[in-house]
Amino acid sequence: MRYLPLTDTDRADMLQRIGVAAIDDLFVDIPEDVRLKDLVDLPKAAGEMSVERQMSKMAAKNVAAGSVPFFVGAGAYRHHVPATVDHLIQRSEFLTAYTPYQPEISQGTLQTLFEFQTQVAGLTGMDVANASMYDGSTATAEAVLMAHRLTRRKKAVLSGGLHPQYREVVRNLSDMAGDDLVCLAPDPAGTEAILDEIDNDTSCVVVQTPSFYGQLTDLTAIAEKAHAHKALLIAVVTEIVSLGALQPPGAMGADIVVAEGQSIGNSLNFGGPYVGLFATRQNFVRQMPGRLAGLTTDAEGRRGYVLTLSTREQHIRREKATSNICTNSGLCALAFTIHMTLLGAAGLKRLAMLNHQSAVKLADALAGVPGVEVLNESFFNEFTIRTPKPASDVIEALAEKDVLGGVPVSRLEPDDDDLANLIVVAATEINSDDDRQAYAEALTEVLA
């Protein structure tokens, strides 16, 4: 087997050195009646060519986003990632390193994390950021837990503009931990009265911007009301590219910003791995979950980086840790920071404008399709349309015409009939005029 360097001769020599007769003599602690003779029902080892064929066959059955006009977003976005990014993250020294617990031989990972943290703090307009979380949805749930710890309250208020699956993740953890939760009704147009839900029991208000439906809302008033009640504002961003054009949550009063960072540097990957961003105020840092890279000096006084504030973490505090998380999304964070460095402020700003313009053009094109209504007056690169037919049927019909036209809201909110005809549609810099036209034409046909 190509991955196993021991030869049979080696094995025999080694058993002798150990002083046992057979390999099973090392497995004696496994009760004999449960010791396996073999793994049945599974095939034997296969060569690289054979494995590649089997995998490629499965892959070929999927419609790759790049092969069709593609407008699916709703929390994951297709952007162009420079070839340099994927090349660099595959370097052995990044790809096959462990968590940088030995900082003297992990400065590469540590410095990139330090730079990543600085970029995330800058982007979100916050004081500090951690070294990343699993993804945006779990980061949101962790933010709620963090708010509960900080406020010593247990009630979170979730906006109806929050991604439904994010809501479910928060709900699940709240339910399991016995916390309270107020979830507002789905809010495509951004008209919910969330201020009315904030009271002195409120630990935090969780608002997504742009909302799941694409709507843009100024969070300032929500932050003010929350702060007046000593509650925290958690801002959720699922399209991080938007912060190239939009006011950052930090500037609107957010106390914690969580985001899905997939859009920068990472592929769609059918939903994972992604990279959660997590930023907060300086004074909350010791309640922030996740890893942190910090600056220090070595024995010769040279600048260097280490993992720090680990006393918050489970391997020190065990049941008193800020979270049970003991990893980050290191390689995805690396992809993020490399792509972000290539973009720079100038590149990100332009990228954001191209995304917005792509969406504006698409919105205009779709608004011209008979029977279609665009629900959002302001949006970034995503918006919601209402069609005269059930959205799931429309999307299927579009797919048959090789247009992937967005996400039917009913897929995520199956129980609300009012939402049955809504589609969340995203456009990015990858979409050409041809793509947009193909969509409008296909939609016209489907609705005819």
């Binding site: 087997m1 390999i23 496994i30 494995v51 595959q90 990044f94 990957n269 290539l342 332009r350 191209l354």
Partner: protein
Amino acid sequence: IEEPVIFDVGTAEATGVDLPEPDSAVTSRLGGLERSEPLDLPGLAEPEAMRHYVRLSQKNYAIDMGLYPLGSCTMKHNPRLNEKMARLPGFADVHPLQPVSTVPGALKLIAECARWLCVSTGMEAVAMSPKAGAHGELCGMMAIKAAHAAHGEDRSIVLVPESAHGTNPATAALLGYKVVAIPARKDGTVDPAAVIERLSDDVAGIMLTNPNTCGLFERDIVEIAKAVHEAGAYFYCDGANLNAILGKARPGDLGVDCMHINLHKTFSTPHGGGGPGAGPVVLSERLSAFAPLPYVKMTADGPELIETLGDAEADGQKPFGRMTAFHGQMGMFVRAMTYMLSHGADGLRQASEDAVLNANYVRAGLQDVMSLPFGERPYMHEVLFDDSFLDDTGVSTLDFAKAMIDEGFHPMTMYFPLVVHGAMLIEPTESESKASLDLFVATLRDLVMRAKRGEVDRFKGAPWYAPRRRLDETAAARHPVLKWTPPEPQAADAAE
């Protein structure tokens, strides 16, 4: 050569991407929320960016450079075929919410990966979505909590051995459980009597790692499982060390109710400097109904994606909820699947055997000069030493580990598990050749001799030959500097 941070060298104008000019004819619809302050993030042209990251990478140690004997972390070879497969457009360039009719291959991949995990562990079902090992622990314990709730029970205690990973008590605490510790036996394993003594109808479950963090197989595990079940509780097994027994024993046969699997440890997805991982949770028949959303069901017509409560209930399931948006770490499933197909049933078993053989070979090579807290007995995939061999040398476990860096090796896991003093946990994995182990053993023997000969300064000052000398972690924690800030003059301005 010192590598500057990007903030020292980049500027907000510079960029390493070429994008078309925005269309001046398009009117923005940003609702007055345009960014008011300019973003101050540096950009670098592509050649500079390339060099920055290449040079930084060269300051890292990695598996591809040498032995990485981190006990319990399982740093094994990461085949590049896995990376290649994960980048096939049909896997990498597929959106989690595009129409299910356009992703039958992706669903098939998840279902196939799930099948391999179930069959090889002897379990009924698997929750694929957890994002990492700790997330899988959370998922497993949620399934247990949901199961008790479904039976109308509200149990408050979880039993956790002292040798457990810190995530175990942290996970239990997160769900509101009270953690009751089980002390280790003298031989490093859990005493069934100690478990039975603590079992009651308020105990929700036990969280056990097997093989445990001392590298030992819990030989009374079947008895413990039986007792746990009889008390109406569930048996959570921390699967971090599954790589020692794959193909040799199935957790399902041991009485395990749920177990997370770290795909990066057992199935070679890359550690990537700290993630991403993936933590699917295999579930016994007793718990399988409670698996979270979403899941893929194999039907005669092919794989079917169940992602709503309604569909799950129609399928006879009682999912406790959702662990994450979307479907889990697809990219890791692809890599793990590639690894499993490559090894096959025979290769997986051989890998476990080689891992155990390698660990015991290291034990045999070092047991006369280092100290084995539990005696010269067969270990599984990792071997635990304590620091008593360093008594009176003035060299600490930490010093010893840092001195290994100067010899070209990554140190072993230190000070874990907590059950012994100055623990040194060595896991070579099956990826090492005999020659590699011989060099490692010889090097460690040499270091031991030097420590015993009194070359304390060499150890205290180590590492001498790394990109950095020993770093001051205390100072870092006392005054945390977590991001770059402009040099002093500008800092003064900004502070106004």
